[in-house]
Symmetry: C2
Subunit: 193 residues, 2 copies
């Protein structure tokens, strides 16, 4: 396998589970069975490796989420698909996202408080991309295809709920089950539409 990809996958996994600052380069080398020089042939620094991990995670997560909410005809269906997908992720039933440990981008951003740091910027960009995915998906439902303002408003609501759900699960190890109740969701969405 491509060494570079192998290193990124190993690093992504370890960083996601243990955080960035807690994990040294040597630990990644050991887990990847790779020499230090090989790593530094592919990445000039730990920071660049982190950025590569964020990029891969971003692609992987967006592809997964995009599939989960595709082909939804109504906003209610989008919301239902979104929250049940997140719940499955929290419940460790989505192997491609790894053992749930919160949002990799929120976690990483918390370790890089300077807003202008490249890593922090990449985390913010991911969130923007997800929001746009939600807006686009909602805009393609029959109810909202000619109401871009409503679609944007609803996307923000879903986004905020999604972030909250993930953070709560990460910190308290609980899941907000109300967000998976179809009646609850119908009321929530009806109120907006």
């Amino acid at each position: 396998m491509d060494k570079r990809t192998h290193i990124i996958n190993t690093a992504l996994n370890t960083f996601y589970q243990k955080g960035i600052h807690s994990v040294g380069i040597n630990e990644i080398l050991k887990q990847a069975n790779v020499a230090k020089k090989t790593l530094y042939n592919h990445f000039v620094s730990k920071d660049e490796l982190i950025c590569a991990c964020l990029e891969v995670r971003d692609q992987r997560f967006n592809r997964w989420l995009s599939n989960q909410i595709a082909d939804c005809a109504t906003p209610q269906q989008v919301a239902g698909a979104l929250f049940s997908a997140i719940a499955r992720w929290i419940d460790n039933k989505v192997p491609e996202l790894g053992d749930f440990n919160g949002c990799f981008f929120i976690n990483t951003s918390a370790e890089y408080p300077e807003p202008d740091h490249p890593i922090a910027l990449q985390c913010a960009a991911h969130k923007q991309a997800v929001l746009e995915l939600l807006i686009n998906t909602l805009s393609q439902t029959t109810q909202l295809q000619h109401q871009p303002t409503k679609a944007t408003q609803m996307a923000h609501l879903l986004m905020t709920l999604k972030e909250g759900m993930i953070c709560q699960a990460r910190v308290t190890h609980t899941t907000n089950h109300y967000l998976q109740n179809p009646e609850f969701l119908a009321q929530l969405m009806d109120a907006q539409a």
Copy 2:
């Protein structure tokens, strides 16, 4: 002033702004103008200092939030007071909580991924306390005082929205303004009641 309190205040401020692992003991000593031995007379380790900071932050935050949503007669008012308070915090208009840098407990928890770590447990306990504050407050509104299930359900919704709002503000430096629109909130709450 009490040295111990002074150290905690300085450490809390620095930890909140820059994260835990990024900040060394020496940096705190310098900012607090305190000798290393003094610090280690009051705290056996950095971890114990962190725990003390979490405790102070927990008290301070809960007292503040409790005041913000006290004396609300309806769930709508609770929601309105909650989100406008959070928005003010994000907007750096709440000096007692310091310059906004997300939720100290979520940030800190992200740096201690092991669920059984005392620090992680303390972060989780804080979230539980806030949830209970919301449940109690909602249970005292006229609409919900005899509907504990509804009150709990609504508290979970508000809690998830609050967490999401804070995380989004932390990562993307944007505020979900829809949550401050009274009509939006009324619809949201009506759907539940």
